[in-house]
Subunit: 360 residues, 2 copies
């Protein structure tokens, strides 16, 4: 057995990026086998520190442009009608480490994704109970996590338009996969907006406020926008671009992660998702993207969840680059190469998995 | 507010290391607040891929130098007497990223630790049931995970001497924190050896074999040994060296992880552990290790678990480097700087946390 030297080209990351990479984590790709990602394997991006919240004294305030301001305990929320949904969540920075020149931030490769079974109250029920006033244009979600980013000290906050808040199916989730929300996923309560990128899903919620002008906080104004130039306003990120990933076949080499595959029939499996429209097709290439063939798709489940795909490959000896690409019903698809932007966002270029098929 | 430029010096890591860092993960230091680490926050080091094991067909074979070879189902193990222990587990490579020159491997800073409430059968009960023959000198644990390391294709295996296997209190664990073993921690069964480094705790166990000569597999012979030269036999790693860590006070800057602290009384808290002897003292320095004062220790719980410590600091404005160091009852302690070795193992030098105390 020969192990070819196919390690990724020698780009390097800084210690600051490493500090982010060791405390945050992606989903190991073999976990694509699970329709619902087990707790601890779902991707995790914590901007600041996880706050420690005492659930007995914790309250959710609903205030601002509101007719009946509320202070809700966890028990108050748990007696409201509960909804459970299987939803795929992805970081808007997924793929950042493969963008050149690479912005300095959490250096994701492709694994910043996961699918959870989220249980909670639909946001619209809470907003109905509180009554948004007619002048409300957005709803601001505030977490208990604070820190400094871009030189600004702030509490993590994001907003949604009133229309999205009501019509998106957003949940105020207090359970993940049938258990209490784990601390790292926002205990005791987070918002989960189906089909939107992860930054939307504010963790450790402390308040929901109606506001009469568009929210302009750091994480809305500065982060999570597509920009070519620093002084651009930029296009705000919202719903997830299409992506497909595969379980890398065969076995890995510890350090290089090079894959070794036995020759013969090889069952390729993965998942695909898009926040913009249902997945219409997944194509697979076994020659680095030169030729493509359609994968078989599993039936869809929740419109906010990924779907499984499968492709039987007859693996012949030698080096191959496997690729997959998803296309959604609106024609959004994945490209061969990333489109550069300052924040290193939405690099949804093909998933590429170099493999070495053994001689047998 | 001024944010000082105290980012760590610009060392860099390779993409291969990044691939390891994004799929493995450490315990965010604020999770030191939990005596038992919540699932998903415990450190995780997966050498190859997580195998998918069907618990209905899975069996544990007990064979080799054995009088009564066994094939045990999960149900067979679950009707044997159960033991639950709170045990601290640490990767032998914790601290590797701060060793210079740094060996190329999983680039841990200091977070490769966690404490679990492990439930299972004591290994000695299973060995009693099977009956080791008189010629057995070691017991070999085999996992279901395979790959290539150091040019050798192998299944992950480690051994213990018969004496350690029987007297260490080793568990065959099928539960973590009161739930089934998560896939990433070895579902359906792993061995957990109190006070030993993590590599000992073979995940996804498929067999336990008595052998009549010392086991010589890759993970025993080549990995996990202290070596200065490549051709040395090296000292095998076993029980955990003492270490203490603190919850970084204040709030972080997203990218640099620089800590900003309010002036005045600041309650420093952390945990300390040693696999060699009980913790006797934890000392804290607020001036980079020049002067030290004793922290208050919480009472010990399980002898295999970390203990809490606390120190009240009167934080004055300016830049400070906080440090902590643990000393155990045998006098083992932590040094100011790492001791270099080829594998980058057991860098248990002081935990250092630079902070900037604001002017108020």
């Amino acid at each position: 057995m020969k192990i070819s030297d196919t390690a990724t080209a020698g780009i390097s990351i800084s210690v600051e990026e490493l500090q982010l990479a060791t405390s945050n984590h992606g989903m190991p790709l073999e976990a694509l086998r699970y329709a619902v990602t087990p707790v601890g394997l779902h991707y995790l991006l914590t901007h600041f520190d996880m706050p420690l919240v005492d659930p007995t004294t914790w309250r959710l305030r609903v205030d601002g442009c509101i007719e009946r301001p509320l202070e809700l305990s966890l028990a108050d929320l748990q007696v409201m009608p509960a909804t459970t949904r299987v939803l795929t969540m992805e970081c808007a920075g997924n793929g950042r480490a493969m963008i050149a020149p690479r912005p300095s931030s959490q250096p994701w490769l492709v694994e910043a994704v996961g699918t959870g079974e989220w249980t909670g109250v639909e946001l619209r029920h809470v907003l109905d109970a509180a009554g948004l006033t007619d002048n409300a244009v957005e709803v601001v979600f505030t977490g208990a996590d604070s820190g400094v980013d871009g030189g600004e000290m702030h509490v993590f906050q994001r907003s949604l338009t009133v229309d999205t808040a009501i019509s998106s199916g957003a949940l105020l989730a207090y359970q993940l996969n049938g258990g209490p929300l784990p601390p790292q996923h926002g205990f005791p309560l987070r918002v989960v907006v189906p089909r939107w990128y992860g930054m939307t899903n504010v963790k450790w919620l402390t308040s929901i406020s109606g506001v009469d002008e568009p929210f302009n906080g750091y994480q809305q104004r500065q982060s999570y926008r597509l920009r070519q130039e620093a002084d651009e306003v930029g296009e705000p990120l919202s719903r997830i671009y299409p992506r497909s990933l595969m379980v890398p076949p065969g076995i890995p080499e510890f350090m290089s992660r090079t894959r070794l595959v036995s020759p013969g029939p090889c069952d390729l499996f993965g998942r695909a998702w898009s926040g913009k429209a249902p997945i219409a097709a997944v194509d697979v290439s076994v020659d680095g993207g030169t030729t493509w063939a359609a994968a078989e798709l599993e039936p869809p489940t929740d419109p906010g969840a990924w779907i499984g795909w499968r492709f039987l490959w007859d693996a012949g000896p030698g080096d191959h680059e496997l690729c997959c690409r998803a296309t959604d019903a609106e024609g959004n698809t994945q490209a061969a190469q990333p489109t550069w932007n300052r924040g290193g966002y939405v690099n949804n270029s093909f998933h590429r998995v170099p493999v070495q098929v053994l001689d047998g």
